[in-house]
Amino acid sequence: MSAPSLNAALLLLADSRLPAGGHGHSGGAEAAIAAGAVRDLPTLAAFLRGRLATSGLVAACLAASACALAASSAGSGTAGDPAGAPPGGWAELDAEAGARTASPAQREASRVQGRLLLRTARRIWPSPVLDGLARAVPEGAHHPVALGAAAGVAGCAPGEAALAAAYAAVTGPATAAVRLLGLDPVAVHRLLADLAPDLERAASTGSGAAASPASVPPPRTAASVWAELPAHSAPALDLLAERHLRAGLRLFVS
């Protein structure tokens, strides 16, 4: 049986060494550690599972749709005229991401990371599609949208974009916990390996939910499909993010 082919660009996008500012964010781990909610391997495992099942799954779905939108923009030549109006779709999809991110601190962290990722992706995979996204969301696209768009331009499938988003949702906080708590990095990677089936399920959900204007038959619209994307929330993560912003001593931006 032949292995499914995986786009190698996905590995670059998912790599923590991608110079896109991710190292400065803990995905809520620093605040959870400060609050005593994460203090060892079992509590970190619970934190990561909770994050993946909520904001991680939502990010996977948004990234998959952004990937599909990027691919359809590139294919249909609707990436937008560099001098003209921003192309359609991006602002709507980005608004769906914002609507699913209740905490203002998390929204800001998501936009900052999205802006930095897009800055990096536009130099690595120059494309009018990414230029169009930057123009459509000048304050910085939400991270899952930027990640999905970059993945689409790099030739990845929506499911691959979703996998990268789900992976980022757990590896960021895991790495931060290693630094902040001095946990055994091998033991933490074993936790991550145990999450592999959950990551794949999130990717599959994201892939199934992905929609672009090209893939949605009338009278429905892509925007109406995006409005129905999963919207799981994690109130504890929201509250921790707000608390982190006001913390007197912090190492990570978020």
Partner: protein, 251 residues
């Protein structure tokens, strides 16, 4: 960040933007004090902004703001997630974003100082972030430090050895430090300072004025020609701006 992003290319410099000066060095050597000194010495004559890379919260930025050496709005803080060297060398995205945001808001500028978080002797700035870099040591770390070398000591465009007033108290021999630094730096300059005694660090400020003027006149690549090997012909690449194309990436 909703500023007018189309208005990026307004700076009159031949490079299209201000000189970016990195200030790095170990913890406690005087990076923030030197940055404050440069703001004091140059803030009235040059159009300045500062990016700090704090290890904890925004302490360095707050110190500079309290020092009253520069309009607080012109000081931006970047947080580095336990990894100050990563933010200035391996993943410069957050710092570039901060620099460009300051240039958009206050530009055109002559000089943007990027102060790194305190790190070790191997921490240097990516040439994608800093056009020139100063490495700051202090005598209380021991007079053997220049001999130990490391990329900061050997390759920085200027090596500053601070806290010379403490030399007699810690038994540091400035002659030894000067000789050892000269031996590993292939003629690149070394300046001794005591910012506590001379809060405007005139000698360093003069060096900075020199590199800012050279930059403004288009002699940007300097004696070491660093700009050409950074390999970044990005979407904003323009003829005549060697190696700095990334700075023009439209957002």
């Amino acid at each position: 960040m909703g500023a007018d992003h189309d208005d990026r290319h307004h700076a009159p410099h031949p490079h299209g933007r201000a000189l970016r000066l990195g200030v790095g060095g170990p913890v406690g050597s005087g990076k923030t004090a030197l940055t404050a000194a440069l703001c004091r010495a140059l803030g009235r004559t040059l159009r300045l902004a500062v990016v700090t890379n704090d290890i904890y919260t925004t302490e360095d930025a707050d110190f500079l703001r309290r020092a009253g050496v520069l309009d607080p709005g012109r000081i931006a803080a970047v947080q580095t997630g336990c990894c100050p060297h990563t933010a200035i060398r391996d993943d410069i995205a957050a710092n570039l974003d901060a620099v460009e945001t300051l240039e958009e808001r206050f530009g055109p500028l002559d000089l943007v100082i990027v102060e790194s978080g305190g790190d070790n002797l191997t921490a240097t700035f990516s040439r994608g972030l800093a056009d020139r870099q100063i490495f700051v040591l202090d005598v209380s770390g021991g007079d053997k430090v220049p001999r130990k070398g490391g990329p900061g000591v050997t390759t920085a465009d200027l090596l500053v050895i601070n806290k010379t007033d403490l030399a007699p108290m810690v038994g540091a021999d400035l002659t030894v430090m000067s000789r050892d630094a000269a031996a590993v730096r292939e003629g690149r300059p070394v300046l001794f300072t005591s910012i506590r005694q001379e809060p405007e660090a005139h000698a360093v400020a003069e060096w900075v004025i020199g590199v800012v003027e050279a930059w403004a006149h288009g002699h940007g690549t300097g004696p070491r020609g660093h700009g050409h090997d950074s390999g970044s012909p990005g979407p904003g690449h323009r003829a005549g701006s060697p190696g700095h194309s990334h700075d023009h990436t439209p957002v």
